[in-house]
Amino acid sequence: MVDSIDSNDGIFRTQNLNLYYGENRAVKDVSISFKKKEVTAIIGPSGCGKSTLLRTLNRMNDFIDIFSTKGEIFFQGEDIYRSSQDVADLRKRVGMVFQRPNPFLKSIYKNIVWGPQIHGTKKDLDELVESSLRKAGLWDEVKDRLNDLATNLSGGQQQRLCIARTIAMKPEVILMDEPCSALDPRSTARIEDLIGELRKDYTIVIVTHNMQQAARISDKTAFFYEGELVEFGDTKSLFTKPKEKRTEDYITGRFG
């Protein structure tokens, strides 16, 4: 059962969305809405379709030949799969942080400015680098070596750099696909703190297989199971008073 949500309130909204890999339906009839300046966590066991859904929101699934959609996804009221959609523009407005840190094989500085540069930003690059790195909590660690290769940073630093790179685009939404799964507990804690900071300015949708993490950092949580949206609501109530038996079984560790 799904909480009733004012359908016009969300920055992202899906309507009876079905996602397919060839014949295989990975996401089934999902209607969900992500609100502005909220952190929404998507949880569920492996293969439940949570990453597939996330990668549909900025159309990163376009690179998979056999992928197809049925139903609608609205971003700021507009269907992102309509033929006149500028995909590059969508991705500029909807940033993404990946499972494994993937900095470019370039300097820290270039990693930040490359995105804005290809979209025509020319002035105040220094300031943009500083403010983005500050927001990502990385400035103090790297300010003296901005011209060093980004790939020389530690894994946790690389992931924060990737977040800074996304912030530098001034996106409206940040999608995070299990951003801590390749990191040690300390780096994970730092990223979680960072998400806490970012929620003030950004809409964040985060996929995680770590339930404690979802409980710690999110306002809303969606629980997916076998491609279905089982339950969606305030994080606190979902974790303390789940309405569905399957949700309860999952969060108490009975399966998954």
Partner: protein, 284 residues
């Protein structure tokens, strides 16, 4: 099989591979030694700066060095952009269409075509059809065609080895495909592409047969000043000397081989330098 026997098999295999390795290195060593022994007496400043001559003690290799140098420049100017462009198309835009598979198979086949066939093609197309005559540009373009498959195949391999996460990151920032390829895929693939350059320079600089067919002259008394000038090349000069009856010219050709090897190593070391530099920056 008992433990002892398995260890023995392991040891035998190791020794066998080591033997094969060392024997091929030994053969190479003997060859190089033989050439150095015979040719070093000739290699001096006079040899490098003199024109070819009928008298062995006066003969030099000046025009051949410059001929080979200009040939390689022409070859690379033609083959690098063409080959890299073709590789990008096949790898990034070709998809799985029938056309790209057809090109694919044929590129692989072309890599195995004997070089003399390229010579005949060069003679028909560049020398006669395009009217370039027996010139540097005819030779360079012919050698360019010859190494094109090598460059395409190595560049494709290099592009394919770029981790998917890099273009993904760029696309997620709203980059267009050409921006991803130009700013990320190609720079990342550069060391692999340079390997292709090294292989093809090494191959092209030693080729003799196609140059004979497109009409490299054995005796050229001047350094080519334009692309349409006549030329000679190091392997042509060496071949010419070895085919003379006088004993002394045979050892002179050993001197030529030393020069050929040095020119090749010099040109390759530039590519190796860049490859090393880009690879080091990647590994941190």
């Amino acid at each position: 099989m008992s433990l002892r026997r398995r260890r023995l098999t392991e040891k035998c295999f190791k020794i066998a591979t080591a033997l094969i390795t060392w024997s091929s290195i030994a053969i190479l060593g003997v060859l190089v030694f033989q050439i150095l022994k015979e040719g070093m007496q000739w290699v001096d400043w006079q040899f490098i700066t003199s024109l070819p001559s009928r008298k062995a003690e006066k003969a030099g290799i000046y025009t051949a060095i410059w001929g080979s140098f200009y040939l390689m420049i022409t070859t690379m100017l033609f083959a690098l952009p063409t080959g890299i462009g073709a590789a990008i198309f096949l790898e990034e835009y070709g998809g799985k269409s029938r056309l790209s598979r057809f090109i694919d198979v044929n590129v692989a086949n072309l890599a195995g075509v004997p070089s003399i066939v390229y010579g005949l093609l060069g003679l028909a197309v560049f020398v006669n059809l395009f009217g370039f005559g027996r010139s540097v540009i005819s030779g360079g373009l012919t050698l360019g065609l010859l190494v094109l498959p090598v460059i395409i195949i190595t560049t494709r391999g290099a592009i394919r080895s770029v981790p998917k996460s890099i273009p993904q990151a760029a696309y997620a920032l709203g980059a267009k495909k050409w921006q991803v390829i130009f700013f990320h895929t190609l720079p990342y693939a550069l060391p692999g592409i340079l390997t292709g350059v090294i292989l093809s320079v090494s191959r092209a600089i030693g080729e003799t047969a196609p140059l004979i067919i497109v009409g490299a002259a054995a005796y050229v008394a001047f350094v080519p000043e334009s692309l349409l000038d006549e030329f000679t090349a190091l392997p042509i000069q060496i071949f010419n000397w070895t085919s003379r009856p006088q004993e002394v010219f045979h050892s002179l050709s050993a001197g030529g081989i030393i020069i050929l090897l040095s020119v090749m190593l010099t040109m390759n070391s530039v590519a190796i330098f860049f490859r090393h530099k880009t690879q080091r920056s990647r590994n941190g």
